[in-house]
């Protein structure tokens, strides 16, 4: 991992419109290594557009995306992956009929000659899941048989295969139960310990406060404040999200 003092991934003055609707207006954002940044906002605040701009799913109309301080054009998710930015989407994009190992390596299978190298893949899969302290009964069960939290762990483990420096998680807790959310938050801490920068979006303030170092509030496409998670109250965050003056 290269040692750079500044942010690994940053947005500078980014705007994006869909016709007359302005989804993002002049947004600045930084993600450092060893840091969890949460982006919160109400529905329609621009969270998904922001994730799209960071992961190459869409190109902003104005402003710059910077990786290690140099401007880059993320024209495609594969370009972003190549620059060390991995995305885990809300739908997880797993094939339910394939098992954990098959899903982890889908599209990037290890081979021995012309045949698949199941042993290497299975061993690495266990190592990866153990690092994340993810509890999966077996790596040879179809993903259909796993719980929502376990599926998410598999999706995150998959995003780690390319040794990314930043992991972008879109609404990771939206579909999780209480216990699974707790397990997920532990998992995010593991990612931070491994040295990854993590950016996650959410509209659950409680989850975000539990895990984030910094919280960026989006409101109607604009940044409506940046908070130190340890020193900000729930009420302050709620006020920033909803725009209600106290």
């Amino acid at each position: 991992m290269t040692v750079v003092d500044g942010p690994v991934l940053a947005l500078r003055g980014v705007s994006k419109s869909y016709g007359a609707a302005r989804a993002l207006v002049d947004v600045d954002l930084q993600v450092h290594a060893h840091e969890v940044v949460a982006v919160i906002g109400d529905n329609g605040a621009g969270k998904s557009t922001l994730v799209g701009a960071l992961t190459g799913a869409l190109v902003p109309d104005e402003g710059e995306v910077l990786v290690d301080g140099s401007p880059v054009t993320l024209s495609d998710p594969s370009v972003a992956r190549g620059l060390g930015i991995a995305a885990v989407f809300q739908d997880l994009a797993l094939c339910a009929n394939l098992d954990v190992v098959e899903n982890l390596y889908l599209g990037h299978e290890a081979q021995r000659g012309l045949l698949l190298d199941e042993v290497t893949m299975e061993k690495h899969a266990w190592e990866l899941l153990n690092q994340l302290a993810a509890r999966v009964p077996s790596v040879r069960v179809p993903v259909a048989a796993l719980s929502g939290g376990q599926r998410q762990a598999v999706a995150i483990a998959r995003s780690l295969l390319g040794e990314p420096r930043v992991i972008v998680l879109d609404e990771p807790t939206a579909a999780l139960g209480l216990r699974q959310t707790a397990e997920f938050l532990t998992l995010v801490e593991r990612l931070r310990e491994r040295g990854h920068g993590v950016l996650l979006t959410s509209h659950s303030l409680a989850d975000v406060q539990a895990v984030a170092d910094r919280i960026v509030v989006l409101r109607l496409g604009r940044t409506n404040g940046e908070f130190d998670a340890a020193r900000t109250s729930y009420e302050e965050l709620l006020a920033a999200v909803t725009g209600i003056q106290r």
Binding site: S78, F89, D91, L92, A93, L94, C95, A96, N97, L98, E102, N103, L106, G107, H108, E109, Q111, L114, L115, L116, E118, V119, T120, E122, K123, W126, P142, A144, A145, R158
Partner: protein, 390 residues
């Protein structure tokens, strides 16, 4: 594992379809026993040799159907494609005087072409496959009639190699046993290396007795088949070709990157695309492989009958091939199944057909029974899918 635990896991696997073709193989044995009780000629070596020989052509077509079902699509025109291929072989070689090998290649090329057109319609225009293959069924049947011309029927000389290969060529006993020895040795070696590598990698391994039992079971199964068929004419060349194609397809589906993409696309095409699978190419390969295997089935059928006519590939060929794939346990919902389901499925369908014929029941009974078996198979498929999602 306790005994009740083993029963519970087996039941769970049965409910969700994780036992693969094993349950259908058991059904096949039961069908054989029932017909044997009703007519003592059924399990005679002579009848079983006939049965295997009759299964080959439609079995090859069913193997193609397995591939389209794997990607979650269906090809309803496989029978028509096989009929057109048969017509091309017969008319090309007999009436136009092409060398036979050229006529066979032309027939296979027709299969490749039809599959490519289907793939283009599906991947570029997103037309549902059951509609355009139904349209294809009509178009191709029309082309078959046009190719055959006004006489409507063309005979092949019996001494031609294609006819001899499909009718009278049998593996010599020495060849059969050599193949059995090679297959068993290869299987054992593969299992052993896999186990050693897993032990080294500190991964969980199946107990040694299980590995040995599997090798012994395979050796026993193949030996019994070869020895018993050997008391009559032996293993037919065309049946050996069919089984070889099934084994090759099984290897491709389970152990290669292509096979994994096929299963992924059949399970969830959008997720597969996001994971970096070339979804479009996977669809093209499945449709082309299916139509080409259908054409090959037609070539084998023309060899077996030594003739092509307007009835080639018509009527029940289509439905038999599709029914065989589904009865063999390949899911209609995509992403699940096995190449072996083509073999087991066609043997079930052919056994029912032969068995009922031996009982002096006519075509009507055969259609009704096969239809009912297909209905049961589809119901089981749907129930298993529900059990997996629960």
């Amino acid at each position: 594992m306790s005994e009740s635990g083993l029963v519970a896991t087996t039941w769970q696997k049965l409910r969700t379809g994780d036992l693969g073709v094993l349950p259908v193989a058991v059904v096949l044995v039961l069908i054989g026993l029932v017909f044997q009780v009703l007519n003592p000629h059924f399990l005679s070596a002579d009848n079983l040799v006939n049965l295997t020989q009759q299964s080959a052509a439609t079995g090859v077509i069913a193997l193609g159907v397995v591939l389209t079902l794997h990607v979650g699509q269906i090809d309803l025109s496989v029978g028509a494609v096989s009929g057109l291929a048969a017509a091309v072989v017969a008319v090309g070689s007999v009436q136009l005087g092409w060398p036979l090998w050229l006529a066979v290649l032309a027939a296979l090329a027709v299969g490749v072409l039809v599959g490519s057109i289907y793939a283009a319609l599906h991947t570029r225009l997103a037309v549902p496959s059951f509609v355009f293959t139904l349209a294809g069924l009509l178009v191709i049947t029309g082309l078959q009639m046009r190719v055959l011309g006004p006489t409507g029927s063309v005979n092949l000389p019996f001494e031609w190699w294609l006819v001899r290969f499909c009718q009278t060529a049998f593996l010599a006993p020495a060849t059969s046993w050599a193949i059995v020895a090679l297959v068993v040795a290869g299987y054992a070696a593969g299992r052993a290396t896999d186990r050693i590598r897993r032990v080294r990698a500190e991964l969980p391994v199946a107990p040694l007795w299980e590995v040995v039992a599997r090798v012994v079971a395979l050796a026993a199964l193949l030996s019994v088949v070869v020895a018993y068929l050997g008391t009559n004419r032996g293993v037919g060349a065309v049946f050996a070709l069919f089984v070889g194609l099934v084994a090759l397809t099984d290897l491709l589906l389970r152990r290669t990157r292509w096979g994994r993409s096929v299963r992924a696309v059949g399970g969830d095409a959008e997720a597969a695309r996001k994971a970096g699978v070339p979804v479009r190419r996977v669809f093209v390969s499945a449709f082309v492989a299916c139509s080409t295997l259908a054409a090959l089935g037609g070539v084998l059928a023309v060899g077996r009958l030594a003739a092509a006519n307007q009835g080639s590939g018509a009527g029940d060929t289509n439905l038999t091939a599709i029914a065989a794939a589904v009865i063999g346990g390949t899911s209609l919902f995509g992403g699940r199944g096995s190449a072996w389901s083509a073999l087991v499925g066609i043997l079930v369908v052919q056994s029912i057909s032969t068995g009922l014929t031996l009982l002096n029941l006519d075509q009507s009974a055969r259609l009704v029974v096969t239809g009912l078996v297909l209905a049961v198979a589809v119901t089981i498929d749907a129930l298993q899918r529900r059990a997996r999602e629960a």
